[in-house]
Symmetry: C2
Subunit: 322 residues, 2 copies
């Protein structure tokens, strides 16, 4: 079976790390048909829509999408693309690797971030010249399908992060709905306030495992975890919907190093491994992960990890270890 993959490099280093990941995917015994599409700042600068309809339609029809990096137009590009694949969960693993310096070497976390609502639903209004409001939306439906995913992903249990002591109705609803689904599925949960969690993760990340969070909290906490493991260059992610999914490194377009050929392709290649898992190609996924891990341990490494290797050097090394 041929997997139809939409490929959207996006901005900045996106067009450096995406070709690296495609090379790795093409080196496997798996059939793909890649179709590339445009999105991002460079379109806006050329007087076009940052997210062309054709790009959105491609993602909405492909078996899976591989996305590179978003720039200034991120909110107009990646948020609608996550919606285009109807993804209700953003899966963000953050772990340390032998050979990579980490602030906290015992970190091995997965965030399951609600991916459709909270402040991202985005009902904002300027009610007067000097007052704006944003209406955060929380539904049982979104919390429940996130929780069902979490129960399958982490049958051994998970942590629910929230700020229901202040956002009583909204985060209260989120917490209650997730806990209820978990209980129905005989999955154990505990809960923690997001502020306390931010501190705990810095002090003792090893006490946590899978963390289910509202949308914005997941955004902030997963970047915090990127700090713990040594930087964004290592974090892959999957935006999973009922019928399709979109895979992207957690990092952005890194305008400071774009064009220099020194971007770390690991996060994107690890995102490609998540794509392989999603397409029920677990052996290929494992081969890719093992090759990335071996390369992180033995080098070459890009400058973000203290090395002097180029994107190309690292990609070659990963290919040779497949």
């Amino acid at each position: 079976m041929t997997h139809e993959i939409a490929v959207i490099p996006g901005d900045g280093i996106g067009s450096e790390v995406i070709p690296a990941a495609i090379e790795v995917l093409e080196a496997l015994e798996v059939d793909f048909e890649f179709t590339e599409a445009e999105a991002g700042d460079h379109l806006l600068e050329a007087g076009r829509e940052p997210l062309p309809e054709a790009t959105e339609a491609l993602a909405a029809e492909a078996d899976a999408t591989l996305f590179g990096a978003a720039g200034e137009t991120a909110a107009d590009v990646i948020i609608p693309l996550r919606a285009a694949v109807d993804s209700f969960v953003n899966v963000r693993p953050a772990r340390t690797y032998p050979g990579v310096d980490a602030v906290k070497s015992e970190t091995d976390l997965v965030f399951l971030r609600e991916n459709t609502e909270g402040v991202y639903a985005g009902h904002e209004d300027d009610l007067s010249e000097n007052l704006s409001t944003l209406t955060r939306v929380v539904t049982d439906e979104a919390a429940e399908r996130l929780a069902e995913y979490a129960c399958e992903y982490a049958p051994e249990g998970f942590t629910i992060a929230h700020k229901a002591n202040v956002m009583r109705k909204t985060d209260g609803r989120f917490r209650d709905a997730v806990a209820r689904v978990a209980e129905e599925n005989d999955v154990e949960t505990d809960e923690v306030l997001i502020d306390a969690l931010a501190m705990h993760l810095v002090l003792r990340p090893e006490e946590y495992d899978v963390i289910v969070t509202p949308n914005l909290a997941g955004d902030v906490l997963s970047d915090l975890a990127a700090g713990l493991v040594g930087g964004l260059g290592l974090l892959p992610s999957a935006n999973v919907g009922p019928e399709r999914a979109l895979f992207e490194p957690v990092h952005g377009s890194a305008p400071d190093i774009a064009g220099e050929g020194i971007a770390n392709p690991s996060a994107t290649i690890l995102s490609a491994a998540m794509l392989l898992d999603y397409l029920a190609e677990p052996e290929a996924a494992e081969r890719v992960r093992t090759a990335v891990e071996a390369t992180l341990e033995a080098g070459p490494r890009t400058p973000d990890l203290g090395g002097e290797g180029t994107t190309e050097d690292v990609t070659r090394a990963i290919l040779s270890r497949l």
Copy 2:
């Protein structure tokens, strides 16, 4: 001049750390009149309001208030108390101390947290059986007075944290208003997205100094910073209004150790030092800070810092070093 101080121990370890701070204040050559008032879970359990009107009124009239710790009823106690003193900024310094293990030893930050609105304004509704909303409010007025305070506090410049790429109108308004006031006052600012900041603070906290943030972001980021410096036991805070202020440790009621006499009084005593600064007693403030620092370095230390000292031991040591 006698300073009239409202004293509200609150819940849990509040009634252990507050007497420690009062002892320290009484040992100085400064005239105080302390009036104690009740608030917290224990009142609710006794069938009363967690925040009695008399307590709120006392805080609203005192020159300054010293608060201990909030428990389950935190949102009904400390949030209205912050409002009772009309505090528009929550000042939260987070720094490392010689002798105290820190995840990041170069941390020396101050958060200036907007203290009146954002999600804390708290307009929540259950719009249907399975959908709740929370309306976040951002006004120019609140951002401007926070910015004016920031310009006086940090004339050498500060960082504005926000998520205006997603919350365009609300955090956009916050960012723009703060930046505008800073420019009018010839104070330099830079800006950073709160998710990126969470990562940067874990990796390189030494690159930041004073950070101006919306309310909830400040809540999460200051707890993150508590993790960087070794825990909440060290973080004082000031809720400052135009005519009065309330001082409180950043930590909570710590029910796990309440009653054991081993709570770290440092955060509360450092909050008392901030109170002295506020009351224009800078020499007394400095004496207290120096004594706390010497004790953190030489001991005794409470169990949260790896020691075996009691609250009493640490308080005695601080008193002896005044």
